[in-house]
Symmetry: none
Subunit: 226 residues, 2 copies
Amino acid sequence: MRILIVEDERHLADAVEQILKKNNYSTDVVYDGESGLDYGRTDSYDLILLDIMLPKMDGITVLKTLRKEHIQTPVIMLTAKGEVEDTVWGLDAGADDYLAKPFATPELLARIRASLRRKVEITQEGVYTFSDIELNMSNLSLRKGATNIHLTLKEGELLEFLIVRKNMASSKETIIEKIWGYDSEAEHNNVEVYISFLRKKLSFLKSEVSITTVRGVGYLLKESLG
Amino acid sequence: MRILIVEDERHLADAVEQILKKNNYSTDVVYDGESGLDYGRTDSYDLILLDIMLPKMDGITVLKTLRKEHIQTPVIMLTAKGEVEDTVWGLDAGADDYLAKPFATPELLARIRASLRRKVEITQEGVYTFSDIELNMSNLSLRKGATNIHLTLKEGELLEFLIVRKNMASSKETIIEKIWGYDSEAEHNNVEVYISFLRKKLSFLKSEVSITTVRGVGYLLKESLG
DNA sequence: AATTATTTTTAAGCAAACATTAAGCTTGCT
DNA sequence: AGCAAGCTTAATGTTTGCTTAAAAATAATT
């Protein structure tokens, strides 16, 4: 696993590098935004740790540029305390997670593992890969390995929605609005029924992916094993 | 909530303004693209209603320019029938939704509510860090280091409230009003019970954070520091 | 056009999670 | 000591979510 570190505080950058090497990741370190962009562009990393405040080019611009060039490498933003605003921007710009400095080693490693696991690939329009499953919206099929299973339209739309918003809990209200339409009269139970359908199909596929309920809040797509 | 209306058909623009005012939004109206851009740039609106066909500068250019300048205000595009092509462009350019003219009042209001709500979710509001703990309202988890613990909705809301008002003592009255609702009949004891639950969980995490009682006044979130 | 198959919606019973209540206990203050 | 404020626990009540099955609506097939 190759990880790119973009961080101008050399002290911190080097410390992180040591930690990662000890945990069997290979690393490259650069100390400014422009180099970060150049390195990231090669699309040869599995993950990028990207500081926001950087010389030459800020982290958000780097990230946006990469995303514009269809580089989908997962990115964890590093933010100093008080840069919360920037954090929000970073998530908007396509970051997968963020981590506030200073951070503890186990936390860093946990986030890295999570991001690597979480990686969603969109190979072609309407084809999503998440963990061990592939959802193809163009023929409404859900695949794990050699096993293919058919989804109904609503099942597909719901799963697509959960995959796209993988890091957020989606409330029943939001789901109804998006899948049934803002003016529909669908009840919460409709969502529950379809969540139940999806769970049945996911478990039929013996997938690592599962749908977690956050009581009073919503649903969340997760990969079970760590 | 401030809404900017950019629409050159004065008749329509004024009608929309009346509707919004009646629903307690404050509004500004401009009648061409350039003014729309100028106003939007101030980044002081919660939502922009943006027509596509506009004098001086078309709506899509306005939107793209705003996005380039990192203005992330949610935008609902207004399109005349037959401008479907343009609609697609608008969504590409970063619009959140679109609405075909002519539209009905309840539909307009529903879309506005939806867009405003979505904004909150996208910004991932609800992740709070205080001292050594992190509260994530989207999955109701409370974390210290690698240890995660589950909170119920009420526990989460209460802790969120205490974190947000970390320097102030929050009285039971205020807490009841905010968490249980101003018209609830919850007793002081309800608050005490939940404070007790939270303390148990904080101490389970061995967190530096604790809830201090200020007798006769309220509760206060503190970092113990040792 | 009628029949059949598929998908979506509705309804109901059940289980688990959560919230509330009340009683007895502890603490701090005068 | 005596009182009031606050704490804790267990029981009881309520809500939320899950799961089925069957009805209704769509779509496909003959």
